[in-house]
């Protein structure tokens, strides 16, 4: 009996077409955290700015949104761990070389000062400490919105690592849009103008920055356009964000427009995080994304 031997005539430059870098093992909690933490971070700044500007209703809403996001973030992160009961091991070292370590400390600090500010404003005690806590929360907040992009960029996943200059700005814009959209949904229209501006401005910036990121990635951006796992989210993100911004812009001071438009912008931001997240899987699965740029680099060196 003659046995057939399998050969690979098609692509000699790969091992049966299998990916080189591993697909991430993170689960659904992570993109939701990226969104919730990012929204909270931007909302901390919105809360303080609105208070300083004398817009107390907006300040209260933004503060509540920040607090809600920071409250759900740690449970999401802990649940994603392979060994959740060991989450405190995150705090046994501080490592600059690990954006996850830096982020854990930042999130711990930000959530703590937010809690302190909330407790003190509820009791009306220690105004100076409260003041310091509010300013600290506003100063730390934006880092929670962008460090998550640094975390993704500091990996060997081509679509993340090669977007290291743009990804933090995408997350920043998306966080701004979410913070504005969420606040605009809960604040009466007469006090919500800054939130609407933030939502619309953030959404437009998000769309532009995603475009820029994809352009600079060149062929590595393929997962966003045609990736089995990423492309549906990427398309949804663009459509929802654009529709939300348009609704809020055309609806002006009408409350229903703020609610519908705000929800669309929030949906767009969630989809955007999922698109980036899943693009990592598509980027890892095909060896051409890993080999292509590296081979070009090696050949250029000679």
């Amino acid at each position: 009996m003659r046995r057939e031997t399998a050969t690979t005539p098609a692509d000699a430059a790969s091992y049966y077409g299998r990916g080189i870098v591993k697909e991430p093992v993170w689960t659904w909690e992570i993109p939701w955290y990226f969104w919730a933490g990012g929204t909270s971070g931007a909302s901390s700044v919105l809360a303080l700015s609105a208070r300083r500007a004398g817009n107390h209703r907006l300040a209260r809403a933004a503060h509540a949104i920040a607090l809600a996001g920071f409250a759900v973030s740690p449970p999401l992160l802990i649940k994603d761990l392979g060994r959740p009961e060991r989450f405190l091991n995150m705090l046994r070292v501080f490592k600059v070389t690990s954006p996850m370590s830096v982020g854990t400390w930042l999130l711990s600090a930000t959530a703590t000062v937010n809690g302190v500010a909330t407790a003190l404003s509820a009791t009306g005690r220690l105004p100076r400490v409260r003041h310091a806590a509010e300013w600290s929360a506003a100063a730390l907040g934006p880092t929670i919105s962008t460090y998550t992009a640094a975390l993704l960029a500091d990996t060997s996943i081509p679509v993340w690592h090669e977007a290291r200059h743009e990804l933090p700005f995408v997350f920043a814009a998306s966080s701004a849009a979410s913070a504005g959209a969420a606040a605009a949904m809960f604040v009466p229209p007469e006090d919500a103008a800054p939130a609407r501006r933030l939502a619309i401005g953030g959404a437009v910036a998000e769309l532009g920055l995603v475009e820029l990121m994809e352009k600079r990635l060149g062929p590595l951006a393929e997962p966003y356009e045609g990736g089995r796992r990423a492309a549906p989210y990427a398309k949804a993100a663009k459509a929802l964000t654009a529709a939300g911004a348009a609704t809020m812009l055309l609806g002006g001071r009408r409350r229903p427009a703020a609610i519908v438009g705000g929800a669309l912008v929030l949906g767009g931001a969630i989809a955007e995080r999922w698109a980036v997240f899943r693009a990592g899987w598509d980027s890892a699965a095909d060896p051409k994304y890993t080999v292509g740029p590296q081979r070009a680099r090696a050949d250029a060196r000679g």
Binding site: Y16, V21, Y147, T155, F169, A176
Partner: protein
């Protein structure tokens, strides 16, 4: 607290200085794939010595490779490259089936991405210069998995003996329990052709240079050392290879770079974006009517 677990990312490695008088000579593997016969004794010996759980073999239908890849439950993996390629002139030319075999393993990089990004300090560099996961510390955050440029580490999902519902990451330890007592790792010990050689890294590099020279003299034009160069993107491998073709043929990245090499750029972008975000929010509040 340790700020730089493996030394400055772009500069010289902290090891061996970090260990002071306790530092020992850096050891590693030289895997000479030109000698590999694909017997998989290394895979088996590794599993036996390290109590690595079984992973169901898969009928790939491509080659004799039914263990597919390195992962939490496979710390040595023998690749079978089967391709129809032109023969050497010396072998009368023509077309033939080429069968390349190669035993892959963790590279124990000089600048290890997995170690750099590990947020718990579970991943360490040992006094022998190898990279090891401390399983009693690992909390399964999974950051090292996509950080590794080679796709070596993975999370273990199998329940096995005392490791029920594991969730931690596992990889080659270069048999830390054996090497620290002066024994050679299980895989190299079991290798019947000396395709896997263990020893002090300097000695292995010298031996590899001589072997490469000989193969090139014999007309193996594709022969090359992979990971021998201390100036490469990961500062050289602790476990390096002699390949008979380009790395990507064996599913190895042709020019790996530790992701943390670009950390200054990454942090700069994140910090700038955070400042821009704050400015944008303040601008939206102050920039017009209520």
């Amino acid at each position: 607290m340790k700020l730089f677990a493996s030394g400055t990312v772009n500069g010289p490695a902290a090891y061996p200085d970090s260990y002071g008088a306790e530092a020992r000579e850096r050891v590693g593997f030289f895997t000479d794939t030109s000698l590999c016969i694909g017997c998989k004794a290394c895979e088996v010996a590794c599993k036996e010595w390290n109590l690595v759980p079984t992973a169901d073999p898969v009928w790939t239908g491509e080659s004799y490779d039914n263990s597919r890849e390195l992962g939490a439950n496979r710390w040595r993996h023998v690749a079978f490259v089967e391709q129809r390629v032109p023969l050497r002139e010396a072998d009368a030319g023509g077309d033939a089936l080429r069968w390349l075999m190669s035993s892959d393993v963790c590279k124990h990089c000089t600048h290890a991405g997995c170690l750099d990004v590990c947020p718990t300090g579970s991943l360490i560099r040992t006094e022998l210069g190898t990279v090891v996961v401390q399983e009693d510390v690992c909390n399964g955050c999974g950051y090292c998995v996509p950080a590794c440029p080679f796709g070596v580490l993975d999370q273990r999902h199998t329940a096995y003996q005392e490791y029920e519902e594991d969730g931690r990451v596992w990889k080659c330890t270069l048999c830390y329990d054996r090497t620290k007592d002066g024994l050679e790792p299980a895989c190299s010990k079991a290798c019947p052709t000396d395709s896997i050689q263990f020893g002090p890294l300097d000695e292995l590099r010298q031996r590899a240079d001589e072997r490469l020279e000989r193969l090139q003299e014999e007309g193996w034009t594709g022969a090359q050392l992979y990971g021998r160069d201390p100036e490469d993107g990961v500062g050289g491998f602790g476990a390096f290879f002699l390949l008979l073709d380009r790395p990507e043929v064996y599913r190895l990245p042709p020019d790996p770079v530790v992701p943390t090499r670009h950390l200054p750029q990454i942090y700069a972008a994140a910090a700038t974006a955070a400042v821009a975000l704050a400015a944008g929010v303040v601008g939206a509040v102050l920039g017009g009517r209520r």
